[in-house]
């Protein structure tokens, strides 16, 4: 193993309640947690980790608004400006008729945009490589990763801290950035 990459200390937890308490006490010691991986959603973990609220909903609004504008531009451009046609005796600008398509486009772009944004920001993009600290986090173990360089404590001290907070194992691992 060469020395390139970033070194992490990894704590393995068996139980989510132990994990939640461990997160609180590790953070209380001033340790900066890189990320926690769980095989299933753990209730209340975001607030324990001190995560700020996701801004995904803002992205959703922006994409939705883009969809509204695109749909209206498309329909007004086609049926009002470019090639006006009388359909069902309506105006060239029949706004009520445009509403269903506008609504669908808003929902479609909002949903696609949200999924796309989520994939990009959580490293699930096709060209990205997801970080897997310990394969067992996809099975039945919770994994807490701590970046050694970002903390003042030594590797041994971190391992000891994790062990004392209920971790069944504390390993170290090199990850390439």
């Amino acid at each position: 193993m060469d020395d390139k990459g970033v070194k992490f200390v990894i704590g393995i937890y068996e139980d989510e309640d132990v994990l939640l308490d461990a997160i609180s006490s590790v953070r209380a010691k001033g340790v900066n947690i890189y990320e926690v991986y769980s095989p299933f959603p753990v209730h209340g973990i975001e607030s324990r980790l001190g995560y700020k609220r996701s801004r995904l909903s803002i992205a959703a609004f922006c994409f939705g608004f883009l969809g509204t504008c695109l749909a209206l531009t498309m329909m007004i451009g086609m049926t009002t400006i470019d090639w006006p046609m009388i359909i069902g005796g309506k105006d060239f600008l029949p706004l009520p008729v445009f509403i269903p398509v506008t609504f669908e486009m808003t929902v479609l772009l909002s949903a696609f945009g949200m999924v796309g944004t989520f994939f990009v920001i959580s490293d699930l993009k096709p060209w990205g490589k997801p970080k897997t600290f310990d394969l067992r986090s996809t099975d039945d173990k919770h994994v807490m990763a701590i970046e050694i360089e970002k903390n003042n404590m030594s590797e041994a001290a971190l391992k000891k801290l994790l062990k004392s907070n209920g971790a069944s194992e504390a390993n170290s691992k090199l990850m390439d950035e």
Binding site: H43, G88, P96, V97, I99
Partner: protein, 422 residues
């Protein structure tokens, strides 16, 4: 923690003032109406040419009073039954989050019995003036006013069948409400999960029955005013309006009770969920409203468009049409969109009364153009009658709130409600 709602003399006094104020405004309104003669009479709108039946469209001042009475009767009865429907839905879905707040919609349901009695009385007084189809001559071929279209609907729209349906709906709704109340009182006394399981069964049956009866009730009580016209969306439309008003009232009452030191165990997540309900069903109402509008607008068949011609082409009703959309869609949609606005009560405290008033306007627009044609008005009388009904309604539901403890201490899912976290 205050366990039982204290319906003290202060609240009763302010309700009395509300009642007296409403009565005063109504009297002023009626006085104005009598003195002003017929207001804007003899309309030359195409509307009247289509609807009127030679000589019957004559306007009397009391018709406007009747139309107001009917709007309020239907509106408040609808809120009340929708609140009971809310309770039933919580039991059917076996929800835990709402266990702590169920006493509030349950209290709103107390209006069902007085509301039903009022409905029967108001119908007995106003039938010919509100429901055009109740006139005998429409079905008499020898009479010049014979109406071929309405005669075709005679099998459904006749007085005995109509009254039978009304009595049946009100009766069966009250029967289920009484059953729900009985088992909830039993749960308070005995505990255990027996009552909860029973309530699940009762609620399931009630929800199915309500789905059918509510739709038919909406055709009877609101749609049949415009006798020639019909809409297949109407049952849903009225349901959506009732339902979102009930949700807004439940939310507003819970927030107000919490501000006054009751229901202190209700956390922000429960309020947030209620806010989501109000937001979501405002959009649902718009969806139904617009679906009804779009189909008629697109097909452009005169028999159908007349309903919107009456409302859109009229200088008087058109502003209400716009206000209806603004209050019930644009305002809640943008105002309650963010998470913070649903989580903090000061936003909901503004939004809920606005939505409640918006849906009153919605019912006003459903009933008034059909009853009064171009003679409709909105002034002291409308506000006054609304205040009178509101004070009676609040009196009944607030005294209903005192009859059971505010916390369902034996509800098997109460813990989940107390620790609800989203």
């Amino acid at each position: 923690m205050k366990d039982i709602f204290d319906f003290n003399i202060g609240i009763k006094k302010s309700l009395l003032y509300l009642f007296l104020g409403g009565l005063l405004l109504s009297i002023i309104g009626i006085y104005q109406l009598i003195n002003s003669g017929h207001g804007h009479e003899e309309s030359t709108e195409i509307v009247n040419a289509y609807i009127s039946d030679d000589g019957h469209s004559e306007f009397h001042w009391y018709k406007r009073v009747y139309s107001n009475l009917w709007i309020n009767v239907v509106y408040f009865l609808g809120i009340s039954i929708s609140a009971i429907f809310f309770v039933a839905i919580q039991y059917v879905s076996q929800s835990g989050w709402s266990a702590g707040i169920l006493r509030v919609p349950l209290a709103i349901g107390r209006w069902l019995l007085p509301g039903s009695v009022l409905m029967l009385i108001v119908f007995a007084i106003t039938n010919h003036d509100i429901f055009h189809w109740t006139h005998e001559y429409l079905y008499d071929k020898s009479d010049p006013r014979y109406d071929y279209v309405i005669d075709g609907k005679k099998a459904y729209l006749n007085l005995p069948f109509f009254l039978g349906r009304m009595a049946f709906f009100l009766g069966i709704w009250y029967f289920f409400y009484a059953l729900i109340l009985k088992h909830i009182a039993k749960e308070d006394k005995l505990g255990g999960t027996e009552s909860w399981k029973k309530l699940f069964t009762i609620s399931t049956v009630f929800v199915v029955i309500y789905a059918f009866t509510q739709s038919v009730a909406a055709w009877d009580w609101v749609l049949s005013i415009d006798t020639h016209w019909f809409s297949t969306m109407f049952g849903w439309y009225v349901f959506a309006s009732w339902w979102v008003s009930a949700l807004a009232l439940i939310t507003y009452m819970i927030i107000t009770l919490k501000d006054n030191g009751y229901l202190s165990f209700i956390n922000h997540s429960v309020i947030h969920d209620l806010g989501k309900f109000v937001f979501a069903f405002s959009v649902f109402w718009t969806y139904i409203w617009f679906s009804q509008f779009l189909l008629i607008y697109y097909a452009n068949i005169p028999e159908e468009t007349i309903y919107y011609v009456e409302r859109l082409e009229s200088d008087f009703y058109f502003p209400f049409f716009i206000v209806n959309l603004i209050l019930n869609f644009f305002f809640p949609f943008f105002f309650l969109m963010t998470r913070a606005s649903k989580r903090f009560t000061r936003f909901l405290k503004v939004a809920c009364p606005m939505i409640l008033f918006g849906h009153f306007i919605d019912f006003y627009l459903m009933v008034t153009p059909g009853v009064l044609k171009e003679n409709g008005g909105f002034g002291f009388l409308e506000i006054g009658v609304l205040m009178v009904f509101l004070s009676a309604f609040l009196y009944v539901i607030l005294s209903g709130l005192t009859k059971l403890p505010l916390v369902a201490k034996n509800h098997p899912m109460l813990e989940e409600s107390l620790h609800h976290d989203i």
